[in-house]
């Protein structure tokens, strides 16, 4: 609170130096962890992105659903769509629905496309707990491999106006 003495530029004490060194080493470790995981880890944030428009993306989703629909969900009436492993699969976010219901095979890789028709949405796959931001105008491609099977819920976790909490979808892994 008070003005320091005239010459305050003094060498640090031994204890300060010790802590500064330890803290700095820890910071370097924190920094290195991200590239290390990027090259060696199996869970990385997708970066592949394409510009799109709601119209273009909507058309792609419709074509995809038409080609690969295998059934209909009784509760919601939404199509259940199953594309062969390795292919591009499409999920559409809009107020307040995830469309369609994707059916995947465990241990197989898919290119999952995500985009929004209107507001920001949040792709939150539960209980796997993978969370990605979904924006209108951006076709975000996540290359995923399910490592567990069952029925999973897709929650919207980006606020998208008053019906936000009702925006719940489904994903099936066999």
């Amino acid at each position: 609170m008070l003005a320091p003495e005239k010459n305050w530029w003094k060498p640090m004490g031994r204890i300060e130096k010790t802590w500064l060194t330890v803290a700095f080493v820890w910071c370097i470790f924190l920094t290195l962890m991200m590239p290390l995981w990027y090259f060696n880890g199996k869970q990385n944030v997708p970066t592949e992105t394409y510009r799109t428009t709601p119209e273009k993306y909507g058309a792609k989703v419709n074509a995809f659903v038409e080609q690969y629909t295998v059934g209909k969900d009784d509760a919601t009436g939404l199509p259940i769509v199953s594309a062969p492993p390795g292919s591009d699969i499409y999920l559409r976010a809009s107020t307040w629905q995830w469309y369609p219901i994707l059916q995947l095979e465990k241990g197989k890789e898919y290119r999952l496309h995500l985009s929004s028709m209107d507001y920001n949405h949040g792709f939150s796959l539960q209980p796997v707990n993978i969370n990605l931001q979904v924006l209108p105008g951006y076709d975000y491609v996540a290359t995923i491999t399910p490592t567990s099977s069952g029925e999973f819920t897709i929650v919207c976790n980006e606020y998208c106006f008053v019906g936000h909490h009702t925006m719940v979808g489904k994903m099936i892994v066999k």
Partner: protein
């Protein structure tokens, strides 16, 4: 030796209107005094509004209670964010800037008219934002107002008014310092607390300009003048404002920490260079943090995210870790040199725990670092963010930083502002003694409840998670912990507001007669000036206890951080 009186004596001239503070011997400019009072009152008003919203929101998210309907929940959540994260904190910081740039420098307020203009704009902006959110159902767009969600144009205008008002106030801070220097009101370097506030002010300038870059186009877009506004660009600009704004809070809070430590224990900074370097690290690196909010956004590369989210090389984190040592160490040396030398922690046992300024300092530091800091660095790690983004772990983190940290420190500081600046006797002192503990413990539970719920996938900003259908039974328990914690914190908040109101509204104007409120009649600020170099360097006074504390902190940090990598490694493969 640090001195209390101005190094160059100066005589009162026509421009000066000040009183002498009997406690600190500092000169208090009367413009500054009125500005501090006005800003502090608005801060408490906004805290009260935001606090009422907090209570109702928490009682809704506590699934067993589930009080509000969806529309009111989202509306009050928007209000809560604006009143707390912006209005309460920024008003308080503006009071701090007026204080730091004049009183602590023995200087006059050189631009009071400009400062009142800033205050007026902030007040209009803040109240207008509240009114718009309460009246217009379409303006429940949350504090972050992501386009293309479209609020009423007045919503954006209120942000702009508030931000420009704040910017004007920040400018008066710089004017005051330049004028004080030119008029020789102080010599040599700025005091550490003012140096820290200067860091906050520089960060605030940058932050507010970036806020304009985000909100002005949104304002034009909401009126139809601008046809489209890219949602990704908006998010980048908005968090260029939203995240650094929290770093302004950080720098201001750390400055207040140093002030509280000096006022309640009488510390001398262990090494001015060390502490100032830590502030400089904030200045250079902390603004990269806007990337924290965009880690799982489309369109950005790994390199961009990793460099930015790590503040280049966690150098801003290094700054905080330096303060985390420097402040306890200064406390330890001061207490040891007064004879509390027993063992590693004898000094801590003999610290003034009943003094609200001290308890709020310690609780604020502990909760900020151990909960807020550790979770923040962890969830700000690029890959780990996939497990966390937009879950309740996020508000769990920032309630530990901004509420348990900043708000608690500001609350503790208020108790000294009342006698010294309002010149009113602090009433309900026994409440003030317990208030930091009640509030701190409540916020600890709130954060833990949120973090553990978020770990189980519970989304933030969500009225009813039972729709998700996947929520395990334990979520009921963790959400109840959050709810109970929030109730306790609200009790602490009511205690705070009551103490402040009773103190400033009743009783006569009274010059303060004592600095400490509950723990004695000595004056730690005067005592701090008597700490000699020999005492600071005495072997027996060395801060060994603090070193143990920071190492314990590092161990906890490592455990939490690494266990999150382990959790990430167990989820689906994704790239």
């Amino acid at each position: 030796m640090a001195t209390l009186a101005p190094t160059t004596p100066w005589t009162k001239d026509a421009k000066d209107d000040y009183r002498n503070c009997p406690i600190t011997t500092l000169k208090v400019d009367m413009h500054t005094e009125r500005l501090i009072i006005a800003n502090a009152v608005m801060a408490v008003v906004c805290l009260t509004l935001g606090g009422i919203a907090a209570l109702l929101i928490a009682l809704t998210r506590w699934q067993a209670v589930h009080l509000l309907g969806a529309a009111w929940f989202y509306r009050l959540l928007t209000l809560h964010g604006i009143d707390m994260l912006i209005a309460w904190i920024v008003f308080f910081e503006m009071a701090g800037l007026h204080f730091g740039s004049t009183v602590l420098l023995n200087a006059r307020h050189a631009a009071p008219k400009l400062a009142w203009l800033g205050f007026g704009m902030m007040t209009v902006g803040g109240l207008m934002a509240n009114a718009v959110v309460l009246i217009d159902p379409n303006s429940s767009v949350m504090f972050s107002a992501y386009v293309p969600l479209k609020a009423h144009p007045l919503f954006y205008l209120s942000y702009i008014l508030f931000a420009v008002g704040a910017l004007i106030t920040v400018i008066t801070f710089f004017i005051n310092i330049v004028v004080a220097k030119r008029e020789n009101r102080f010599q040599g370097s700025l005091p550490l607390v003012v140096f820290g506030l200067m860091t906050a002010a520089i960060l605030a300038t940058y932050t507010l300009l970036e806020g304009a870059a985000a909100i002005v186009p949104a304002f034009l877009w909401s009126m139809g003048i601008l046809k489209t506004y890219d949602p990704g660009i908006y998010r980048n600009f908005f968090w260029g404002f939203g995240h650094p704004a929290q770093q302004v809070n950080l720098a201001a809070m750390v400055s207040i920490w140093y002030a509280l430590a000096q006022m309640t224990v009488g510390i001398r900074p262990v090494n001015e260079k060390f502490s100032r370097l830590a502030f400089i690290l904030y200045l250079f690196f902390i603004n990269l943090g806007s990337a924290h909010h965009l880690l799982v956004d489309p369109g950005l590369s790994f390199a961009w995210k990793a460099v930015n989210t790590s503040y280049a090389m966690y150098l801003a984190v290094l700054g905080s870790m330096m303060h985390a040592f420097s402040i306890p160490a200064a406390l330890e040396i001061a207490l040891r040199s007064r004879g509390y030398r027993k063992g590693l922690f004898g000094w801590l046992r003999n610290a003034p725990w009943a003094e609200p300024g001290f308890s709020s300092l310690v609780l604020s530091m502990f909760l900020f670092g151990w909960i807020g800091g550790v979770t923040g660095v962890t969830i700000g790690t690029e890959q780990i963010n996939m497990l966390v983004h937009n879950t309740l772990r996020l508000p769990g983190h920032f309630h530990a930083t901004v509420v348990s940290g900043t708000t608690l420190a500001f609350m503790g500081f208020t108790y000294y502002v009342i006698p010294l600046i309002f010149r009113k006797e602090l009433k309900l002192k026994s409440w003030a003694k317990w208030q930091p503990y009640v509030f701190g413990f409540g916020m600890l539970l709130t954060s833990l409840g949120m973090i553990t719920s978020g770990l189980q996938g519970v989304a933030r900003r969500n009225w009813d998670i039972t729709f998700a259908g996947v929520v395990p039974g334990t979520v009921e328990i963790t959400l109840a912990i959050f709810g109970i914690g929030a109730l306790l914190a609200v009790v602490g908040g009511i205690m705070y507001v009551t103490i402040v109101l009773v103190s400033i509204l009743t009783g006569p104007r009274l010059e303060a007669s004592n600095l400490l409120l509950l723990t004695g009649t000595h004056n730690p600020i005067i005592e701090s000036t008597k700490l000699t170099d020999e005492q600071m360097e005495d072997k027996q006074n060395q801060p060994k206890g603090s070193l143990v504390l920071v190492f314990a902190f590092l161990v906890w940090f490592a455990i939490y951080y690494l266990s999150n990598w382990w959790l990430l490694g167990r989820t689906w493969f994704i790239r």
